[in-house]
């Protein structure tokens, strides 16, 4: 079989570790890589290695930053330094940023507590978060995902922050904009009912 050619087998082995390249897609990606011009492939590889070299995590909020520049959040005087939004990964950070409705700082946990995956609180940046929660920070928004692991992580963080004189909030749960009740799952409707607000 053609995927047993040594060079293709090695490329497949490397690509299989990249997320979101399912078995069908991976052949198209290999086909793309084999078909493009040599210099395009070199540009792609250069971009990957440049990113490895240039991009580091901010020591304070753990968001990616250029290693020789300041963090675009922590070192940005225009952002509100009294409020902190805690997200699992920078993908969630981008989702929050895209709303255009948040101007505070962030804290990237680097995942969620997930004993089945061998991830405990010590594997995340929770200790660093607790240390950050001093003046001028006044409020921490726990914006973990609405999954069992995300909620458990939020509960854990809230318990760690209990002693600190800080306001801890979480995202509102309810019916997504544009959805109809008919197609919503039971639990979401239940939460939306329970957490109803004055009209």
């Amino acid at each position: 079989m053609i995927e047993h050619l040594p060079t293709i087998a090695q490329l497949l082995k490397q690509l299989q570790q990249v997320p979101y390249l399912a078995s069908k897609n991976i052949y198209r990606v290999v086909d793309y890589l084999l078909t493009i011009e040599q210099d395009k492939a070199e540009q792609l590889c250069k971009a990957i290695l440049d990113a490895k070299y240039n991009i580091k995590q901010c020591d304070s909020c753990f968001v990616w930053k250029e290693h020789n520049r300041q963090c675009s959040f922590c070192d940005n005087a225009k952002r509100d330094a009294t409020i902190l939004c805690v997200v699992e990964t920078w993908q969630e950070l981008i989702a929050v940023e895209k709303t255009g409705g948040y101007n505070g700082l962030y804290h990237v946990l680097g995942g969620v507590i997930s004993p089945l995956d061998g991830l405990g609180p010590e594997d995340l940046t929770i200790d660093q978060l607790v240390q950050r929660c001093i003046a001028p920070i006044q409020e921490v928004i726990l914006a973990t995902n609405q999954t069992p692991e995300g909620e458990a992580t939020a509960v854990f963080i809230a318990s760690r922050l209990k002693k600190q004189a800080i306001k801890v909030s979480c995202l509102a749960r309810g019916i997504p904009v544009g959805s109809s009740l008919e197609y919503m799952d039971r639990l979401t409707v239940f939460k939306a009912l329970n957490e109803r607000r004055p009209f």
Copy 2:
């Protein structure tokens, strides 16, 4: 925004050209690339560049092969050299190979005739296919996809092969194994009826 960091923007630009990395997935891939060990990233880049260097198309059937080795189909004496299966790309070749029910040779077209995409017969390997259709080849199976473009390409190839004393066949159309009629589209049921066979 974090995706405007120059190094990340460049990586995103390069990755956006890779098929199947939709906007949501691409951030996870970038996250994967930023998170892995330096040497893993280097291995990935080496595999890409090795593939560019080592893998070439066979001059006869246009399947990928190691540049310093023989084609695993054309130069394989165990394969039946009297029958040729014409496929669009090597992804379809892999699908045919996986059946384990075909032992002949292949011919990869490199796509389909698609005027909207600016692809004409001269952009495919149709001329080379017609030239290949001499003894010992006795039968050509047109295994293009069941799309308008795939079928039009098959019709075009069949018309080009008309003058040659060669049997031209195509894949059977009908109800997929395991499917129920109720959920099949009308045209498939119509074709299955029309192309019914003795029980």
